[in-house]
Amino acid sequence: MLRKLIDESAAKSPWIYHINAGSCNGCDIELVSVLTPRYDAERCGFKLTGSPRHADIVVVSGPITVQTRDRVVRTLSQVPEPKVVVALGSCPRSGNVFKGSYSIDGPLDKYCHVDVSVAGCTPKPEAIIAGLAKAAEILKEKRKEMH
């Protein structure tokens, strides 16, 4: 019973930790706008946390630059299971216009399994919400697999 309740609530209260891996700040701003009154992601339980230890969903934005690479990997590893990695915008998946630059060491798939991607440059808040909702569903599945 308790286990089922826990599984159910895994999807209802996903806390987000946001990593900026060299992003141009466009996606970051849109992610924050998801929490504004107009889009109000909190009604689905989303909450931005300040520490990866609290997070369920890690949102990575930006192409993985050489400078941020180690930090991203380290921070991702510090998130407790079950966790879902969301690539926000086009950059983490491909490098976007920065592709091939000497300072880029992407894409994110090289370092971890990206569960959900939200494409767009930048994605609209609605798309981000849809992506996060999908991530929450995956979170629930992962939670079920844990036992």
């Binding site: 976007n96 569960d115 939200v118 767009g120 609605e126």
Partner: protein, 161 residues
């Protein structure tokens, strides 16, 4: 202490308590329509494409790939647009002389696998019936190229304004 006077905020907050929230109903209902001229997911019409390759040249993030495999009487050309690589600048669409690339207002580009983000189309480009001489074809573009590159660079610049 430079604390701002909270009274006006308090007034707003109390007023809003009894107002209808401004929140969109999105995750429950349908996603709202994007603004006019929104540049969203690419739609590719292979039947209009002539495989000129301009889109490939103007694409800054190299979001599209073209594969050509020879078939009888021509080439099977496949254009694949990777949405996770695209910046949605619409240059490809603007430069496409046949309007084979179109940016729709579908912004819901969310997926879990890489395939979810690929837009592709295939057509068969028939070879011209009359073949030019192979050596002439190789020699001709060489002198033409500087001119072709020089003129567009000089001329479109004033037009932009």
């Amino acid at each position: 202490m430079e604390v701002k006077n909270p009274v006006p905020f308090l007034k707003d907050a109390l007023k809003q308590l009894f107002e209808k929230p401004v929140t969109e109903s999105f995750p429950a209902g349908d996603p709202p329509k994007a603004a006019p001229e929104y540049r969203g997911r690419i739609v590719y019409h292979p039947d209009l494409c002539i495989n000129c390759g301009t889109c490939l040249r103007v694409c800054a993030p190299q979001a599209m790939t073209r594969t050509m495999e020879p078939v009888e009487g021509g080439d099977r050309v496949t254009f694949t647009f990777d949405m996770t690589s695209c910046t949605f600048c619409r240059l490809c669409s603007d430069f496409c002389s046949r309007k084979a690339i179109e940016l729709t207002d579908d912004y819901m580009i969310v997926g879990t696998k890489h395939e979810d983000f690929l837009v592709s189309g295939t057509f068969i480009k028939m070879k011209p019936v009359k073949k030019p001489a192979p050596d002439a074809a190789a020699a001709k573009p060489a002198p033409a190229k500087p001119a072709a590159e020089g003129t567009p660079a000089a001329s479109p610049a004033p037009e932009k304004k």
